[in-house]
Every structure is written in C-alpha cells, then in structure tokens.
C-alpha cells in the first residue's frame, strides 16, 4: 500500500510540473530546459526556511513561489528576443546558471543557511521537516499523499480556469500569430512574463512538496538531466490540452517501475531510463509531433 502511495505522491508532484510546463510550452511555445532549476528553488527555499527559521509549509511555499516567479524573468526576458531554437539554448544557459548557484554557494567550514554557505553545495540539506500547516503536522505517508493530491488538483483547477479565461484566449491568439496580436494592442512580452512566472511558481510548489516528502535536497534535483526529463515528459505525453501532461507524468513514474521488472543492473538503470526517453523523443519527432495525447504540435 505504501508503495502505491509513494508512487502517487510522485505522480502528483510530476503532474504539477507537467501542468506548469504545459502553460509555457503548449500555450506559449517556449520550450524551456531550465525548469528543474525552478523546481529546486522551491525545494531549497522550503528546506532552508523550515529548517533554519522554523516556518510552516504554506509560508515557506509562498516564499519559494515568489522567488521562483522573480527568477523566471531570466527565462522570459530571453523569450523577448529569441524564439524556438535559440530560446532553448538560452534556457539551457539559465539552467547552467541555476545549477551553478546551488552547487557553488558553498563554503566547507560555514554552517549551511548562512550567507556564506546558503545551499551547502554538493552535500545538500538533510533533515527537512515534513509539511506542517498551521500546526497540523503531515507526518504519515498517507497524509502527505492527501496533501499532494489536494495541491495537484488545486493546480489543475487553476490552470483550467486560466486557460478558459480571456487570458487563455489571448495565449492561444499569441501562439497563432504573435505579430498580429501585438498589432491589436496586446503586450505579448508582458504576457510571456506572466506565463513564465506562473509556470516557475508552480514548479517551485512541486519542488517544495518533494523536499517535504523526501526530507533531503541536493543539487542533483537541479541538473540538466532533470530538466530534460521534465521536457521529455511533456513532449511525449503531449501539450496544449489537459490529458497530455497527465499522460506524460504517469509515464515518467511508470517507466522506472517497469524497468525494475526487467532486471537491468542498478548501475546503468538511470542511463537506460534516460536513453529510452531519448528514443521516445526521436520517435515523437518523426511520427507524432503532438505527443501521445496532446494537441499542440511543436513549431
């Protein structure tokens, strides 16, 4: 039972990430490879303020989302000048920068959480307390699963509301023809900023849940491989609608579990998993550009 709850929690976490990327990629056409960095911002913020300052879950998550939103400017400003291919590379640059921050803001002799050593570098931060909302402690795996599910559903509801609102219609119009949209008086650069801020904030939320559940965070959550995993998830699952990201998230969980049954040596299991994702990407590009269940074909 616990095993399924464990998978369920991950499914919720990745669903939130998938929905956030759906906004950025499926509605704005911005294929960003920097998302793991924002995931990590949420995780590290929650870790630091809950361990060092004793904050509860909601304020800590709120702070993490706020920081991620502001930091999303790095990606949205890249989107002003560049679309498509070069934007992907710029997001890669942001990714390197963010990873660099988490890995290098470290001094061996200082205690973590101080300005000299904010992230404890490669050693990570351990002992992160489980979520605590106004005194209600979510200690058991069941309660955390419930919390994760509630948050995932809340994110889904917010995404759905946004997409069916006039703002969502504006996103579709921008996706169809940005020049024309600008000619109608729409400040598309500002809208892209909004989209990336929302997407990065959601990724930070997912990161905070992750940190609260696993109780340990280190820079490996912010690597390029993680970003690529996220991107594979939504490209293979599909974007531009609601089914797609969810299919992608489920696939991301299911694949390593399936591999477990195929007796692949542990040392290379991670590589095989990533390799399969690579293969999926190539297959998607050749045969089904909208992903398995999506609606928007990559431009």
């Amino acid at each position: 039972m616990n095993y399924f709850l464990h998978l369920g929690i991950y499914a919720c976490i990745y669903s939130i990430v998938a929905m956030s990327l759906n906004l950025a990629v499926g509605y704005c056409g911005l294929l960003t490879l920097a998302h793991a960095g924002y995931f990590a911002i949420g995780a590290y913020t929650y870790a630091l303020v809950s361990v060092k300052l004793g904050w509860g879950f909601l304020p800590a998550v709120g702070l993490g989302m706020a920081i991620a939103s502001v930091a999303s400017l790095a990606v949205s400003m890249s989107a002003w000048r560049f679309k498509g291919d070069f934007f992907v590379m710029l997001s890669l640059a942001v990714q390197s920068l963010l990873f660099s921050l988490f890995y290098n803001w470290f001094k061996a002799d200082a205690d973590f959480g101080t300005w000299a050593n904010l992230t404890n570098g490669p050693f990570g931060i351990a002992g992160i307390p489980k979520p605590n909302i106004f005194g209600l402690q979510f200690q058991t795996i069941g309660s955390i699963a419930l919390l994760a599910a509630v948050l995932a559903i809340a994110c889904g509801a917010i995404c759905w509301l946004l997409v069916s609102s006039p703002w969502g219609r504006l996103l579709k119009a921008m996706r169809d023809d940005e020049l024309v949209a600008r000619g109608l008086g729409k400040n598309t650069r500002f809208v892209k900023m909004q989209v990336m801020a929302i997407a990065c904030a959601m990724a930070a939320l997912a990161g905070a849940i992750y940190a609260g559940y696993v109780s340990y965070i280190d820079p490996s959550a912010a690597t390029l491989n993680e970003s690529i995993l996220f991107v594979c998830m939504i490209l293979v699952g599909g974007v531009g609608n609601f089914k797609g990201p969810l299919v992608g998230a489920v696939l991301l969980i299911a694949l390593p579990e399936v591999l477990r049954f195929v007796a692949i040596p542990d040392a290379i299991a991670a590589n095989v998993r990533l390799g399969i994702y690579g293969l999926c990407l190539v297959a998607i590009a050749h045969f089904r550009q909208q992903g398995i269940a999506g609606e928007y074909r990559i431009e």
Binding site: G84, D85, V88, M89, A93, G275, V282, A285, E299
Partner: protein
C-alpha cells in the same frame, strides 16, 4: 595580464572551432544540431579505447575522427533528411536532435561509465614564450585550432564545393534551381561539422580530460559564441569564440572557475540587450523587434 590573454585566446580558439561546427550546419539548413554535443562527447572515448588497445596515438585519433564524422553523417542520413522529406518544422528537428544527443550520451555512460577520464598521463611539458607560460597541450591546441579554421576558410573561399556551400547558406532554392544537389551539400555540412567538433573534443580532452556530460556544455559555449559573433556568417562564429574565450579567462582569473558558467550567460545577456545581431551581423528585414 598577457598570460590571461594568451590563455583566453587559446581556449577561445577551441571554442571557435566548435562554434564553426555548429554554424556550418545551422546556416545552410537552419537545423539546431544539438546531437553535435553527442559527437563531441563520444570522440574522446573512442580515442581512449584505441589507446587502451595499444594503438599508436595517430591511429587512435584517426579512428576517433572517422567514427565521429560517420556519426554526424548518420544523424543527417537517418534522421534529419527524413524529417526534411516530411517538411518538418525546426522545432521538430530540434527535439529529434535532443533525443539523439540523449541516446548517445547514455550509450557512452553505459559502455564506458560515468567518470572523467584523461587521454594523456603525467604532467605536461611547458614552454615559456615572452613571459607567458604555456603547456604543450595549449600550444598544440592553438596550432591545430588555427590550422583547422584556416583550412576551412580556405576551402570555403577557394574551392568549387566551398562556393556551393556558401551559396547553400545564402539561398537554398536558387541553388537547387541551378542543378546542384541540396541533399549532397547537406551531407557535406554534417560531415564537416562532425569533423570540426571531433577535433575540438580531442583538443579539449587532451588538455583537461573528458566525461560523458561534457558535450552539451561545449555546445552551449559554441552557440553563445555564434550568437555574439553574429549567427549570420561563418566567420562570426570564429570571432565570437575567440572573444568568449578571452572574456571567460578574465572571469576565471578575477573571480573563480566556478563562475565561468554565470559569466558566459552574463556576456550573452549583455549582447542580446546591446547588439542582438552579434558583432558581425546586420539587422535583418524583420517585421518584429523594435
């Protein structure tokens, strides 16, 4: 001061070779060749294996270069050419290239493992020229980078194939209307890119070693170089590479090596804001940016 400059120019030269490799595919075909990072990553491993099998260094190097080029040609023949047939969008090419890169890197990790390796053993010899200390690897690297870039430029400007290649970058349709096979020229592009990136990879791995993940970082530098140099010309990439190398070595000196990533990004951001068309670029007839 001169030391930092010299270091910078030399690393810049190698970045320039990789930047040229990227541009050689991007300009004529508009394909964002991410899998080039995969070629970059695998070549040192192949050379290493050759050395492990007791081959002489020039045999191992030749072997690695040949396989690198073949891998690059394979990307075009088995992947991009097919997508082109279906009139795929550039995003589709990019995603497929990313997929191939991932497959290649994971294959490297599965075959050879994830740790960093080195191609040469022991301490390198040093030279002392006009007060500047250079390692043997640096001098060799600079010489080969110069030779490579020089030969490419010579080929581009003086040979018939080079002319066709420049024409391909200018106007694919008009070239096709003159009876030249676009298919063949694309293969030439991918082949040259494979060769150039293999050379860059070997030069860097001879100097500092290599691991499976190094390809994308090198490609990122190459793309940044081509943007700041001007992504509309072959030579812009070279100029951008050298400039980037110099700027990075300044940063490494004044801050630390760990911040060189951040520095690259900062330089790129600066250029995008001040001069988005790069050093050698010209404003295009774009309807949009104001």
């Amino acid at each position: 001061m001169l030391q930092i400059l010299a270091n910078g120019i030399i690393t810049g030269g190698i970045i320039a070779v990789m930047a040229l490799a990227f541009t050689v595919v991007y300009l004529p075909t508009r394909i964002f060749y991410i899998a080039l990072g995969g070629v970059y990553a695998i070549v040192p491993f192949l050379a290493w294996t050759g050395l492990q099998w007791g081959w002489a260094w020039y045999v191992a190097v030749a072997f690695a270069l040949v396989i690198g080029v073949m891998l690059s040609l394979g990307c075009e023949l088995l992947n991009h050419a097919w997508l082109e047939e279906k009139n795929a969008s550039s995003g589709t090419h990019l995603v497929s290239s990313l997929g191939i890169y991932i497959i290649v890197v994971q294959a490297i990790a599965i075959i050879w493992g994830n740790e960093t390796k080195v191609l040469r053993q022991g301490v390198d010899g040093v030279f002392n020229l006009a007060g500047v200390t250079l390692t043997q690897a640096q001098v060799g690297g600079a010489a080969i980078a110069l030779l490579t870039i020089g030969s490419f430029y010579l080929w581009l400007q003086s040979t018939k194939l080079g002319l066709e290649f420049r024409a391909l970058a200018d106007n694919k349709n008009e070239l096709a209307l003159r009876g030249f096979s676009i298919q063949k020229l694309r293969l030439v592009a991918f082949g040259i890119a494979g060769l150039l990136s293999s050379i860059a990879a070997l030069l860097v791995s001879w100097d500092v070693g290599f691991d499976p993940q190094g390809g994308l970082a090198a490609l990122l530098l190459a793309v940044v170089a081509s943007i700041i140099g001007g992504s509309q010309s072959f030579f812009g990439a070279v100029l951008g590479g050298i400039l980037l190398g110099i700027l990075r070595s300044q940063v490494v000196w004044f801050l630390s090596a760990q911040w060189s990533e951040a520095a690259s990004f900062a330089i790129l951001a600066l250029f995008l804001v001040l001069r988005p068309q790069g050093l050698l670029g010209q404003k295009l007839r774009l309807e949009s940016e104001s």
